[in-house]
């Protein structure tokens, strides 16, 4: 089992005719994902890797039954693409795009709250249920099928974590990159709740970073609602206050958003926090293995 996606997931790719869209569609296909449609307005009728391209999301979903959309649309047009997918009632929308203006994301988040669609991202690597489906840009080969859930605000840092888990013989049920932007569709708590409810997941690794308060809120959720063990890691102990560390959301502002404050909150919530990234796999082996 897994959360959000599995071998039945029928994927459409918005922005499939662009360089990135084309490249990662191929990678998803090679991993075994059922890619059924692409969308690029004005390029309906074309094909990319034998996948039919449509002018609109609604058309693509009606013809192919796609139930998940992966968005590679450039930043200034990405909000429109996400809204189009939500309006067409696509259940799961995964936005890879980095650099969407925050005001666009505020509107997207408010609109989606009134629809049944779930958004993952933006500015994220997507998600993968090993050996079943990959909806994202992560290197598939580092993952192995198993029972550990991974949820993270980062991209390559997640790959590092997964690599260490795999190295220790700990396979993964699903790995979700929720994104490094200040406003994201799906948060830690949504993923933790899904992992708690997933019968096959036995433990969760949660990877956070400086900025905002979502790790603190997640820690309260873990304390109140989770029976499965959670291991945490927080990046940015050495990040100076007031500077944005690459991710638009990674900035220490005020007392609450620093790595030290987050680590304290996680530990208070009963989460085993790993402070040294080099030993994360070993610590997980001790707790989950």
């Amino acid at each position: 089992m897994s959360i959000f996606i599995d071998h039945r997931t029928r994927l459409m790719v918005q922005g499939i005719t662009g360089r990135e869209g084309r490249f990662h569609t191929r990678q998803c296909l090679d991993y075994g994902t059922r890619v059924v449609a692409g969308v690029t307005p004005g390029k309906g009728g074309q094909k990319v890797d034998d996948i039919p391209v449509f002018d609109s999301v609604r058309q693509a979903s009606e013809v192919t039954g796609a139930d998940c959309s992966l968005v590679f649309v450039p930043p200034l047009f990405a909000a429109d693409a996400i809204l189009e997918a939500a309006e067409a009632e696509i259940p799961l929308i995964v936005a890879i795009t980095e650099g969407i203006p925050i005001l666009d994301m505020l509107k997207v988040k408010k609109y989606l709250a009134g629809t049944p669609s779930r958004l993952i991202g933006p500015n994220c690597p997507g998600l993968i249920s090993p050996d079943s489906s990959k909806v994202g840009i992560m290197p598939g080969a580092i993952h192995t099928r198993g029972t550990i859930g991974v949820v993270s605000r980062s991209g390559t840092l997640t790959y590092e974590v997964v690599h260490q888990l795999t190295h220790e013989g700990l396979g993964q049920s699903t790995c979700v990159g929720i994104g490094g932007d200040p406003v994201v569709g799906t948060g830690f708590i949504d993923c933790l709740a899904a992992f708690e409810a997933d019968p096959l997941t036995t433990g969760v690794v949660m990877v956070g970073e400086i900025g905002g308060s979502s790790e603190e809120e997640a820690a309260d959720f873990v304390a109140a609602k989770m029976s499965k063990p959670v291991v945490g890691f927080i990046a940015g102990l050495t990040a100076p206050p007031g500077r944005r560390m690459g991710h638009a959301g990674a900035i220490v502002s005020g007392a609450g958003s620093s790595a030290a404050a987050k680590i304290a909150a996680l530990e208070k919530g009963g989460i085993r926090v790993c402070r040294d990234l080099a030993s994360l796999g070993r610590i997980c082996k001790g707790i989950f293995g």
Binding site: K107, K110, E160, F233, G246
Partner: protein, 391 residues
């Protein structure tokens, strides 16, 4: 991107948000001319730098006559102003804003920011204007009014009234305040702002509301929609290394430590900086080369790290996904051949094409230290730090 006060006030004027009469100057002669064009003395001479706390740092002076204007302008222009926000090295002042002095009855605080957890726009206000709002929030949180505005609904008169009542404004000022806040909100949304702050917003003796100070941060992601605002960027306010990195498409922040580092991905870059600290060093920078880096970008990243004289060693940590390890290795080899690398370099790579990348490095004949995993990399960095001298 930060705007200067005079630029923020120019935007305020365009949105009919009242600001004091004011003129910019970049030499004492212009400052005197500006003061004479204003309606009357006294005037206030304000340093234009991207940092708060200018008053306490000596960057804001009141002048009562021509001589005092010339004196103030001469002292402030060209000086390095040190404030609570500039760091000990301070910021050189290249421009002044000369403004009329107002008759203040009350000083208020007003700001708009995006609220990440509720996905709303948050209007904050306080009767304690002129003070640092973080201090007010810490000591007297009940004195801050917060009103959340749904971005799909936009601002309505009832939102503005809630703030006006919270500030204890007399009813005669409510309509004026509603117009001001509505205009400020429009300014925020139509220009893709990340922060608009008026501290203080003053009530004058004759019951006018005027934005005495103005601070605007623009959302960098929205900047492509606003070419005019993008052209307002003041490169003199930016770290030269950070500017060079941005031009090369690299995400670089200059820090005070001794171990340079180059990483792909922001989260892994932060975690690598933390690892350097745990190994006994201090990170000299944050550098995310991104997922689409090519050999030329890697080479430029090297050049930027090496141009920082504090750097005693470099850790490269790449988890190859889209960025393949062989491409990284080629960039490192090019960089090592074109610019003399005079500090030890530890390279840890993993992921796509890692064997090919390692082979390229091994065959290059360059003196590079490779690490098999993060623990190994941390140990090798610790060894450099403990050796206490340049290689």
């Amino acid at each position: 991107m930060k705007l200067h006060e005079y630029q923020a006030k120019e935007l305020f004027r365009r949105y009919s948000v009242p600001v004091p009469e004011g003129i910019t100057a970049s030499n004492p002669g212009e400052a005197l001319d500006a003061a004479r064009r204003l309606s009357a003395y006294p005037v206030v001479v304000k340093a234009q730098i991207h940092a708060g706390g200018r008053g306490k740092g000596g960057g804001v002076r009141v002048a009562r006559n021509d001589q005092e204007v010339t004196e103030a302008a001469t002292v402030i222009l060209g000086s390095r102003l040190v404030t609570a926000q500039t760091g000990p090295q301070g910021r050189q002042v290249h421009r002044l804003l000369v403004e009329q002095v107002l008759d203040l009855a009350r000083e208020l605080y007003l700001s708009i920011i995006p609220d990440r957890s509720s996905a709303a726009l948050l209007v904050m206000a306080s009767q304690d204007g002129g003070m640092d709002i973080e201090t007010v929030a810490a000591n007297t949180p009940e004195r801050i009014i917060r009103v959340k505005v749904d971005p799909l609904l936009s601002i309505q008169p009832f939102h503005c009234r809630r703030v006006a009542f919270g500030l204890g404004l007399p009813p005669i000022l409510h309509r004026h305040f509603t117009n001001l806040l509505t205009n400020l909100f429009r300014l925020f949304v139509e220009n893709d702002c990340g922060l608009v702050e008026v501290n203080p917003l003053v009530v004058t003796g004759d019951e006018q509301l005027i934005a005495l100070d103005a601070k605007i941060d623009l959302d960098d992601n929205g900047l492509p929609r606003h070419p005019e605002l993008a052209s307002w960027r003041d490169e003199a306010e930016e770290d030269p290394l950070e500017l060079a990195a941005a031009r090369a498409g690299l995400n670089y922040i200059n820090l005070d430590g001794n171990i340079g580092n180059m990483v792909n991905g922001a989260g892994l870059a932060m975690a690598t900086m933390d690892l350097i600290k745990q190994a006994g060093g201090e990170p000299a920078n944050f550098l995310d080369v991104g997922g689409g880096a090519n050999a030329a970008m890697i080479e430029e990243g090297f050049r930027i790290i090496l141009s920082d004289p504090k750097v005693r060693g470099i850790l490269i940590n790449i988890f190859g996904g889209i960025l393949r390890c062989d491409v990284l290795a080629e960039g490192i080899i090019q960089a090592a051949r074109s610019s003399r690398i005079n500090v030890p370099v530890v390279i840890r790579m993993e992921g796509t094409n890692v064997d090919k990348g390692r082979r390229l490095l091994a065959d290059s004949g360059l003196e590079l230290t490779t690490a098999v995993d993060l623990a190994d990399a941390a140990g090798k960095i610790a060894a450099i730090i403990n050796s206490g001298s340049r290689a």
